[in-house]
Amino acid sequence: MNNIICACGHENPEGTVLCGNCGRPLTEEAENSKLVDMRYEGSARRSQTYNKTIIDKIWNFFSSVKVGITIILMIIVAAAIGTILPQVLYVPATTEADIAAYYERVYGTFGKIYNDLGLSDLFGSWWFQTLIGMLGISLVIASLDRVIPLYKSLKKQRIKRHESFMKRQRIFATGEDILGEDSFNISERKLKELRYKVKREDGALLAEKGRFSRWGPYVNHIGLIIFLFGVMLRALPGFYVDETMWIREGETRAIPEAPGYYLESKEFILETYENNQSNEVFSEAIDRVGTIVSNYQTNVVLFKNQENALPGQIDNLQQVKESSIQVNKPLKFDGYSVFQMDFRLNELKTMHFNLSNKSTGETLGALAIDLVNPEPLYDLGNGSSVELKGYYPDFSGFENGEPQTKSPVPNNPAFLVKMYTPNTPEGETSFVAIKQTVEPLGVNAYKLEFQNVETRDVSGLTIRKDESLWVLAIGGLIFMIGVAQGSYWNHRRIWLHKTNDGRLIVAAHTNKNWFGVKKELDIVTEVAHLPQYIDQHDLESEEFKKDGEKSS
């Protein structure tokens, strides 16, 4: 390595801009500039120093803030495009063909192109995820490239700096030393009152505060990386459960992906705001909008299997707790959360029929068919029975003479039955659907007469388990700490020197909020009669001051 030896005798690593010891500018550029660039204290950074191997090149690429910002801007543009049309997640279609058809039907040619380009699932696309990954890499490398040299140079700061360093600070003053030795003592006292840490050596003073705020950006970047890591964890099996279940009132079902746990639904409740006395303030809104729902709720009982039970064995369940699941109030147990997400009202539950004689109207008995678990045979006593030969919960018509069902949900139940009575011991075949009876094998003497139907509600629940949440929470917390640390505190330094010819020089630097450091320096300047500083950046306000007019 080619070390640079400063005029003060200090050896600096290659790439250093300001001498780590006395602060003299070491490069021609720094020498020629009016103000020093104080970022990273002018220390040597890896990315500014090496550029030979491929690793150097990658390192330099990702450590560049320009590249980082470019990645951020690309994510911004991509994300904005992703909001033009709804993403597939929010589209009422599941298969690829349906989705494509949906986009084309609803959004026309633009929708087709949008979907064909993959923009309808932009946030799940490999290239979007790659962008996020690059952001993460950039964060890590850029931070490492800077934090280490910054730490080193802040740690070994000297109190006495070279005049060329002081002169190039944005806030600078030089002038007569009015109080002599006292100007240092008074300054020190005042600065300490202002909570600066003050260090002194022969003819030099360094007051510093808020140095820890310099670590803010690095802390917040660590938080972000932990957060991104947590998001990645969710791809691992077992870390993340996302299931849905439909459960009917009165049913007990195994909770998917939660082995050993069962849920019983007691009742689904849907409530709306009544336009009555107690809701008087809302009356105007209810009048304008119509019905407004106030609550979706499923009352449930959570069960757990006995320790030594076989999987699927549910005759010996132990009650864990009774609870109600509402929107915003999930049921929580053992790392799982069960959310109220959806519902279906009035699903058919049981159908009641009478077996009756078509000509006399005489009834031979009643039967109730459970539409979820129908029985194969219903014995009505006194020699009559009904045999269920076929059950079509969601009857959709005949195909080649065969009844068809669209789904296993009892939306439109139909039955193929054989009816036995003492008069017709051979049995009569009938096809019974809602508002429709077909007698496929000739005219019957008996029929199943529809009486009524019982309904019940169905709750749509989502089961989540997210083992990565705490990682995300820690990431978020660290981010907030870091960003507050870097934003609400500033690193301020004030240097005070006495030169060999007896003048005083003052310089001040802060990483942000110059207004704040100037206000403090004003106080010190006044009590210690220091020379009046100028802000070498803000020459405009200096002019105003000369005009004797305060600026607004």
Partner: protein, 394 residues
């Protein structure tokens, strides 16, 4: 008087206070170069006293409405936007006490006035909460996010002042053009208020039937003469304007009509202003910024972003994720409103990095602050109105 109407009156008082205070701040910065700063101090002090009085009344509106409704008044578009306007004033007061700059008030208060006026164009009744909104996390999320956004908005105010002073309006330039566009956009908001108020006073109502994008027959009532008709519309009210153009089913022609009327009214108002002032709006406002200290405006702009950014992160992202986790079972779902909050956040992150590492100070930084504000307003207005998502209950 019911609590609700008391609350409404308090908001009105606040609104009037902000109007009056604006004039005092205007007076404070108007003084000619030779006058002493005593004048400025006196007018500025009266201005801030009236502002604080208005703000207290505004807070009282917020609290009384909260009590009346039984939930935080941030649950519909009117309430949320009003709260944002209130917090904008609060943020200005904060900045005023740090930097003592009446000039910021001269621009921030009219902004708050326009925002509150805009808000009151939406249905103002108290709405009961639908189940998804019944969550204290939601309350915390919305209030913190609005607070963060309002502090960030102060940086746009400082940026605008910077640009008004710094851009040379005597020569044709891109900057001059875009600055005037920003002014024009602000006038369009006034156009929205003016057109909505006009038709409200006229009690305009026209009902149409139409076919929506799922092929269902529906009805819709316009509150302004229909320029655009819904898909396959039929007029149900007699003697009303017949739409000039029919739109396809994916377009909400009622909203499009509202936007068009705002454009028409806004453009007319802008034209009248140009005629009366005999110069561009930027040129009219420029003299007010003559005494602005650019360095200070730049500093305030950066300071506002660095104060507002953490608050915004906490409110718009972290609290939002906690609420989404409780209400929707996932902390993030790439819903348009969420995505735009993320975009806003990334934009301000880019702002900070450009400033810190690429030395984008002064004018560049001022432009970025103004663009940031435009993104925030886009999120507030356009995403709610145009891009519908989970959040668009209002």
């Amino acid at each position: 008087m019911t609590l609700v109407s008391i609350s409404g009156n308090l908001l009105f008082i606040a609104f009037i206070c902000y109007l009056i205070a604006t004039f005092f701040f205007g007076g404070a910065v108007r003084g000619s170069k030779t006058e002493t700063s005593k004048f400025e101090k006196k007018w500025g002090r009266i201005g801030i006293v009236i502002t604080v009085a208005g703000f207290i009344s505004n807070l009282a509106y917020f609290i009384t409405r909260w009590i009346a409704a039984g939930h935080a008044p941030v649950s519909n578009l009117f309430e949320f936007t009003t709260a944002f306007g209130m917090m904008l004033v609060g943020s200005f007061i904060l900045i005023y006490f740090i930097y003592k700059t009446p000039l910021i008030g001269l621009f921030a208060l009219p902004m708050a006035i326009i925002i509150i006026a805009y808000a009151s164009m939406f249905p103002r009744e108290i709405t009961p909460l639908i189940p998804a909104l019944k969550s204290y996390w939601l309350t915390i999320h919305v209030i913190t996010a609005a607070l963060g956004e309002s502090i960030l908005a102060i940086s746009a105010v400082a940026g605008l002042i910077y640009l008004l002073k710094n851009v040379d309006l005597t020569k044709k330039s891109k900057q001059r053009f875009w600055l005037e566009i920003v002014m024009y956009t602000l006038v369009l908001t006034v156009g929205f208020v003016a057109s909505t108020t006009t038709y409200k006073v006229m009690d305009y109502e026209a009902t149409f039937s139409y076919v929506d994008k799922e092929q269902k027959a529906k009805e819709i009532t316009y509150n302004a003469p229909a320029i655009f008709g819904m898909n396959e519309y039929k007029v149900l009210s007699s003697d009303k304007m017949i739409p000039l153009v029919e739109t396809p089913a994916i377009v909400n022609a009622k909203k499009l009509t509202t936007v068009t009327w705002s454009l028409i009214f806004g453009t007319i108002i802008y034209g009248l202003l140009r005629l009366i002032l005999r110069k561009s709006l930027s040129a009219f406002l420029q003299p007010f910024t003559r005494k602005a200290n650019l360095q200070l405006m730049d500093e305030i702009g950066y300071r506002a972003v660095s104060i507002g950014f953490p608050v915004f992160t906490l409110g718009a992202l972290i609290f939002a994720m906690i609420w989404a986790q409780e209400a929707w079972s996932r902390f993030w779902g790439w819903d348009p409103k969420e995505v735009w909050a993320l975009i806003t956040w990334l934009f301000y992150a880019a702002f900070l990095h450009l400033r810190l590492s690429r030395g984008w100070h002064g004018e560049k930084s001022a432009w970025l602050a103004v663009i940031g504000f435009i993104i925030i307003m886009f999120n507030l207005i356009a995403v709610n109105l145009i891009i519908a998502g989970l959040h668009s209950y209002a």
